[in-house]
Subunit: 369 residues, 3 copies
Amino acid sequence: MFVYNAWYMGAWADEIKPQGLLGRVLLDLPVVFYRGEDGKAFALEDRCCHRALPLSHGCVIGDQLQCGYHGLVYDNKGACVKVPGQDRVPAQAKVRSYPVVEQDAMLWIWMGDPALADASLIVRHPWHSDPDWTWVKDRYSIKANYQLITDNLMDLTHVGYVHQRTIGGTPQAHSDADTKTTRSETGVKVTRWMMDSVPPPSYVAAFKFNTPTVDRWMEIDFFPPAAVRIHTGAKDTGTGAREGNRMGGLAFMGLNMQTPETEKTTHYFWSGARTYSVDEPDVRAKLLTSLPVTFAEDKVVVEAQQESIDREGGAPLVMIASDAGLVHARRLVATLLEEEARAREVAGIKPVIPIRPVHDAMQKQEHAS
Amino acid sequence: MFVYNAWYMGAWADEIKPQGLLGRVLLDLPVVFYRGEDGKAFALEDRCCHRALPLSHGCVIGDQLQCGYHGLVYDNKGACVKVPGQDRVPAQAKVRSYPVVEQDAMLWIWMGDPALADASLIVRHPWHSDPDWTWVKDRYSIKANYQLITDNLMDLTHVGYVHQRTIGGTPQAHSDADTKTTRSETGVKVTRWMMDSVPPPSYVAAFKFNTPTVDRWMEIDFFPPAAVRIHTGAKDTGTGAREGNRMGGLAFMGLNMQTPETEKTTHYFWSGARTYSVDEPDVRAKLLTSLPVTFAEDKVVVEAQQESIDREGGAPLVMIASDAGLVHARRLVATLLEEEARAREVAGIKPVIPIRPVHDAMQKQEHAS
Amino acid sequence: MFVYNAWYMGAWADEIKPQGLLGRVLLDLPVVFYRGEDGKAFALEDRCCHRALPLSHGCVIGDQLQCGYHGLVYDNKGACVKVPGQDRVPAQAKVRSYPVVEQDAMLWIWMGDPALADASLIVRHPWHSDPDWTWVKDRYSIKANYQLITDNLMDLTHVGYVHQRTIGGTPQAHSDADTKTTRSETGVKVTRWMMDSVPPPSYVAAFKFNTPTVDRWMEIDFFPPAAVRIHTGAKDTGTGAREGNRMGGLAFMGLNMQTPETEKTTHYFWSGARTYSVDEPDVRAKLLTSLPVTFAEDKVVVEAQQESIDREGGAPLVMIASDAGLVHARRLVATLLEEEARAREVAGIKPVIPIRPVHDAMQKQEHAS
């Protein structure tokens, strides 16, 4: 079960080249992204209505997409506009099209009812285009349900254990942080403060503090159904960071988008922006080497969880205090799922993909040309 | 669902060496082919009736097959004739045997009721032994239902798109061909003529035409349930090719046999015979290098279709004009399936393989020695 | 279905280093073995009760195990004794613990009702610590149900066929052996005698006999549910071996423990002890090279059987005389399964692992901190 009426990150903007295309499964549905002649990005159902070949096996022609099997051509709304060898295009020859918004270097897609696709609902990430910041990014394929990744991010006490060989530091320091979990207007916010604390070695290496101790913060923002922004940083002790003045310190802005591929696999997009060494390619190169090691540690954990869940089904789990963030996040997603199910029921709408016997459909297709 | 009362190509004749054996799954049933002492080929159920080990793990002894686990020996009718360590052979100790016919360098097998196995029903392919022709061949494992391969072959307009980097040529030329689809006595025939047309580069390279344009033909014959013969060629324009005089031109004779392994995997046997450069080993070597590239293009397509179908079940498909051949082919197979199901019902015959709980059967087997 | 109230070999003792741990799936349940500070071995459910991460991703601290995700600590009874970041440990925070006995260089585990775990029921193997004997050992992962391995061992007539290229010898000699199958006090015993027979080359190479022929024996003992001991050897003809005097001959003592991992995969532990060349490292090295080849031959067979069974379900099998041993062994296991099912029913005990919808449980977990 997925929330369909929501914006998901579908790709990094630069994954789709000019006149290029990319096939990707999102929310168990095949999608093909492509860029038309003016560079605008579109997303269609990645399955030709003729013989079901993914359209991503075809090619872009102007603003249109041509199937790579028998040459049917679709416009950017998904309507078939040409069938080679015949004059008439069958009325039912079309594929689904999905609203796409390119913003902050990302392509966002709306998999549900297009009428509800309000672009203002998309989580913004201005740090991708702020000249005071610089950033690195990637995408990983994770063999786990997307919510296990959200869980991971909403409870950062895991850092001391999972990442003890990389960014970990002292577990105790993370457990002792002054933590507050609140419902924000759009989601859930977990705020953690480590006031007057010894900065970790990685901070000291990256930035010159003027005081031996610092005031450190971690702000975790969950935007349902599948995005988590993590703002971390530190400033000289007693210079007002907690009161709101974060200028003049060290800051990271992490964005994590765990877009479901299937119920058990996830496209994990992430970016890390920073305010220090903005123009130093060496720092960038080092981050692109070290960050994947840390993400790999999380990948091992969530994939092992998924295997464990697959084996033991719904055996009971016990909650602890640090779960507050993820519990609120899961409740938000559960509420969205329920609302969507209810709305579908009221409107008498069937699930997105009707399932019928396969070869039967191949056999019984109507001659429509 | 498969048509069982039909001849399928089970192997190339030279795949089974003298006194050799070969295990292969056909129509979801395990089969072992072997050659007896005079070279005759046999086919038995590839599963010892004692402890279910495939007999293809054993060895050929004269005209008999010995299991590689505890040495039970079967004759070429599938009757167990020896059980080491005891004098009596249990009456029920036997495996199924399948009628096999070796013809035109192929081994044909009948998986259904042996009483109906009429060898005269086997599609002939004399080009495999005609001295004016020479041929190359192979077998591919395809991860797709066999009918997707039939579909592919029955609509050659795909050549301009799928094979644009190999044998494609101009898509338009293929779409504009004068095409006729008819039911033949034994199946479906699609005939395509490109009269007075510029010959493709590969034709010009292979053969010296006397006229700048040629009359080209493609004759596609479907023999249900799973064979397609494709006769293609060209002759000097206006020299009577369409009226029936094909002598003196360039001709290819392709045979495609897509024998089901399972519902989702297929043994794709093919051969390509030609009338030109019959005695030139260089041409042969070049074909053996280039043809697999073209077949690999089809493999990519049908396997992507299968994945698409697996994901979206029986979502509707739209038919176009060029589907005529494959629609007729699928209808023929559907009719055979229905007839077979009805005949089984009338006769009160159960499906080929009864399914019972596994370990139960291992436990409850009767002591029969 | 597995017999839970029984001792299974879970690991070789030396697989768990001091303060080390090992995750392993046994009987479809995740288990983590670890050694505490005094070297004692423990076994817990390999799944943290908090977020289901296998505890084998964590580390040993003294006699306790710490989860590698958020640092929960468990004592060796499976009780959670520490939750970082909070004072109180939720009462329901615990995992299953399993009785473990270290004996004869093996770790034995009881997966069923701990109250019934009587260590005196464990099959002993004193040859692992007898100075007159020396031994080699290993563990293989087999893709087959464990009972197919038991079957293999209970009918040694397979040696002449499966192992003809290694330890086989003449199939006829094995079939002609004087074989007797009896129920022993604890299981099934198959005894085979080859009196006054020519010793196989491997025997002659390993030992100096004083007579040209020898009296050979094979004693196969099945200890349900999943252990088979095979005592083989030979002595000078007529020196009383069959009457009980086995001293002064050549003897091997093989132990085979086929512990189920899942219904279709098995941990196959084996050891081979011998009385000859006890102090010769060359003989040991040679055995460690040659034995895996022989075991690999068995692996091929049982895995092919499993595939065959998976394909054809419970198609009938035919029994032969040499099956007597395995039939008795399977009956014993079937009886244990039935008794256990009945006892559970009488006591109103539910199956070991309750299955509930996965994400549901992740969602509905109670806040207990």
